[in-house]
Symmetry: C2
């Protein structure tokens, strides 16, 4: 059964703004990342392997964010500085969907346009709008880029859980790291000075 | 014997501009990257393992850049669009030194200040100045960030060459990937809009 779409999730919404990045630029970027057909095969395989482990993966990632005051503050209320449980829960649902979408990514216009939207949601003034919260308005780009490592390194044990040989696990891990870095790079576009992205 | 310093290399030069990133911010960034003491141990080990393989590694990286017109153009002459061999050679010498420095990084103020300088050298107006060349003036940030993957993925066979067990090679590779991503993140600072880094 198809799960319900999380509130605020808009992949495939034709009214989204168009990404300033073209499909040709995306191709060159994937080439620069050494993302080839073999990576796509292993990314799809990673998707199958983690499908029933999404909540466990999110527990690890949310645990990491929760343990780091310099990160969890971006989920906190401006009023009392405490983590906003509803905000965390709503984003978590979209985050789970993102794992599935990232392993399935077709790198088409709809996917590209949603990357642009999610980049905008990490910074001023897009952050907080989707969930109608009064939280810290802007996440620094350096943390968005650095977060590629925890999202990638913590994936290895989950990728290894279904008995694939170590070489296959390593290939899934590499494909996943490339896919996450590609995402973070695209999200950085609105942060960057005009003409410098 | 200490090798001669490559022309234009300035790590440790006290007249360099100070990085806008503080040492405290650097610490939080390393924490966000999950870069711990165990990574430092494996980064140093990686340094020992690759020390006598630097030219072979540079051959692979320069081969990749040379094979990609959308990358090699940043080493080309504005006048005739052809790769500038002298520019490539001078940068290659500093690139080799950078591998050694990255595995040895002490993450102190001198290191931080040089990261700021090298970031400026990848964009307008710092690019080309060190070597006095008339080349394309600016490298887009998306390629600088994406280049983390080739610089990291191609390292694995070199790290494996001295007979370390696969787990140790994997740990060296992870530590190296974090170190390169940290570098690229710091280099992105001048590209980013005021207050958004
Ligand atoms: C590679 C880096 C990152 C990835 C892949 C990632 C992933 C995601 C995803 C999938 C969403 C939901 C997107 C949607 O609305 O559909 C999201 C939103 C969010 N993320 Fe991130 N994230 C990253 C970095 C960070 C960092 C460093 C923080 C800081 C704690 C952070 C905090 C948030 C917040 C607060 C939201 C909600 C934004 C809003 O108000 O809509 N993210 N992230
Ligand atoms: C993770 C990404 C990258 C790393 C680690 C890296 C590494 C380096 C290093 C170590 C240097 C010499 C620094 C010094 O002057 O001491 C350099 C310079 C240079 N790199 Fe990169 N690089 C990256 C991305 C790129 C990309 C994508 C290009 C595009 C082809 C590029 C082209 C150049 C050029 C043209 C120079 C000379 C700049 C000048 O005029 O001074 N780099 N790079």
């Amino acid at each position: 059964a198809k799960p319900t779409t999380p509130p605020g999730y808009r992949l495939g919404d034709p009214t989204l703004a168009r990404s300033p990045v073209t499909l040709d630029e995306l191709d060159l970027l994937r080439g620069t990342l050494l993302m080839g057909d073999d990576d796509l095969v292993h990314l799809r395989l990673a998707g199958e392997v983690v499908r029933d482990q999404i909540e466990d993966i999110l527990d690890v990632w949310y645990g990491f964010v929760g343990a780091n005051p310099h990160l969890v503050r971006y989920f906190s209320n401006l009023s009392d500085g405490k983590p906003n449980a509803e905000y965390l829960a709503r984003v978590r649902a979209r985050f789970g969907q993102w794992i599935v979408d990232t392993t399935n990514a077709r790198y088409d216009q709809a996917w590209l346009d949603y990357q642009h939207e999610v980049g905008l949601r990490h910074r001023k003034p897009g952050k907080n709008a989707t969930d109608g919260v009064a939280s810290v308005p802007h996440i620094p780009l350096r943390y968005v880029l650095a977060f590629v490592m925890p999202l990638s390194a913590t994936m290895t044990p989950f990728l290894a859980k279904k008995g694939h040989p170590p070489e296959t696990v390593a290939k899934m891990r590499d494909a996943w790291t490339k896919a996450v870095l590609l995402t973070a790079i695209l999200w950085s576009e609105p942060y960057v000075k005009d003409g410098e992205f």
